[in-house]
Symmetry: C2
Subunit: 309 residues, 2 copies
């Protein structure tokens, strides 16, 4: 068996070591132009030439949950694409989002500013009922985030393409349910896959439907959000703030207004990092299953290119 590793922005050696340890009899190599055909590929943002050359793959494993960048390429026909399915990411997302929601709801930023000036000052406790949280996208990550938020007794709404049921979460679905979902939410969390349908989904007319004093948390993709519309709604006061982990251009360019905006918290795409050991174990398990004759459809995380996730 031959496994080709083709990941930009990723230190290769620890992945090669891990995959070789998982498959001592396999050839595991970093791809280079003209390399021999492989059986499986482990990829992150591969060049088009890799996909053109490696047309005989039995599976392409994406070392992230989002495959929007990969699906922009011309994929070899009939080769299944498998994305990471949790692999330690959902708990990180739950942490990141709960931290941001609690920090906003409890005004810990304000308390910290007071403390920096040596000021002991109470703020009137806010009512949890006034801060319903809406989670867009109810896959593995969105569901875990929703459940974590519900544990803190926030009213939680969820929205997904197809109808879902999650205990403790008021679920909406489809285009028909979108406006009601927005109107029932004050804090909006984006965990959607990026597809033509979800591109620019957070824009003036949608964000304006959030309850007054709304708050935006984007942990999906930068293109879900229209940057200027967010800034305008923060300026008008309809939105109270935002915590953003993803951007249209990453790293976020130095001159971008998000950096210095007093109501925006910026983090460098760190909400849920790919954890190497967990990811290698998951990919190795899936390769073993396929080698033992499992059907591709039986694996978690198989991408439907028509849906885009």
């Amino acid at each position: 068996m031959r496994i080709s590793f083709c990941c930009t922005d990723t230190k290769a050696q620890p992945w090669l070591d891990g995959l070789r340890a998982a498959f001592p009899d396999a050839e595991v190599e970093v791809w280079s132009d003209g390399a021999r055909p492989a059986d499986y590929a482990v990829v992150w943002a591969p060049p088009q030439s890799f996909l053109d050359e490696q047309a005989g793959l039995k599976g392409i494993f994406n070392i992230g949950a989002g495959v929007d960048a990969l699906l922009k390429l011309r994929l070899p026909p009939g080769v299944p694409v498998v994305r990471l399915d949790d692999a330690g990411m959902s708990v990180q997302m739950a942490e990141y989002v709960c931290h941001a929601v609690i920090r906003h709801f409890r005004e810990f930023d304000g308390y910290e500013a007071d403390a920096a000036e040596g000021r002991w000052s109470y703020r009137k406790p806010r009512l949890r009922a006034d801060f319903p949280v809406g989670v867009m996208g109810l896959g593995v990550l969105g569901e875990r985030v929703s459940r974590a938020l519900a544990q803190f007794d926030f009213p939680v709404r969820g929205w997904s393409r197809s109808a879902k049921t999650i205990p403790g979460v008021q679920c909406f679905s489809g285009e028909a349910g979108f406006n009601d979902f927005l109107a029932a939410s004050r804090i909006l969390v984006c965990l959607l896959p990026l597809t033509p349908d979800t591109d620019n989904i957070m824009r003036q007319d949608t964000l304006a439907r959030l309850q007054p004093g709304g708050y935006v948390i984007n942990v999906a993709r930068g293109s879900h959000l229209v940057d200027d519309d967010l800034i305008a709604l923060l300026g008008s006061g309809h939105l109270a703030g935002a915590t953003l982990d993803v951007f249209r251009t990453e790293p976020l360019p130095p001159a971008h207004p998000f950096w210095k905006h007093p109501k925006i918290t910026v983090t460098p795409h760190t909400s849920a990092r790919t954890l190497r050991d967990e990811s290698i174990a998951q990919i190795a398990g899936k390769i073993r299953a396929l080698e033992s004759g499992a059907l591709i459809a039986s694996l978690a995380g198989v991408v439907d290119p028509n849906k885009g996730y």
Copy 2:
């Protein structure tokens, strides 16, 4: 029935309104010297003279979870003391502690400092297994906090006077289990009642037993912590930081070194505020139960003055 309200640092009118609404036929008054004897008292830090005069009470309801200040007074013999039992406080504690633990573990302070300088910089993800969290005190608040932390997959240890069992939490108890508990913890959360046994419980020799790079979160009482010992252990590097909500003197005096210490986050005793409506509902429910002949021992939150909580 007569209910006397005797709470310092508390706006009386909304409490009077709430109690009167709950008991339209009762006399509900703010206590003043020489007032007629009441059946029940609702108190926070009452003067000794109140307790001396009101010797015939059927119950004293403390509008907080901690009764250390009340128990320092000379209580009328045989009058039961009942403290708040959750009443919206446990979810606030879970929020406060989870926010502090996640913020430290995920280095969000550091990311924020980077962002303030326009710096897009990754930090190596830390392993959750390296950050076991120890919760001292497993009452209503401590148990909820422990469960909330376990939901984020942190290894959680608990310590209490008498042995407890909480799913997902490694529980230690009594003096015999204390050192093992400390050695098994890196982040230490104090949710103990303040009693002669727990006074100064976080001091040089106990904090030194925490795992290197330890972190202290105090949401109980200022006297649980020896201030200078914390500062010394932060200086030596054994401790990495602290989030403190409670202090020996409150408000924290302007000259206190905690205010400006770069590794200490100070909040003004706001981790779990008494929520008036929930508290009134709880106290009213307990008064009704007693008036219908319930035994005092059947109520949640009845204080054992010998234990001190």
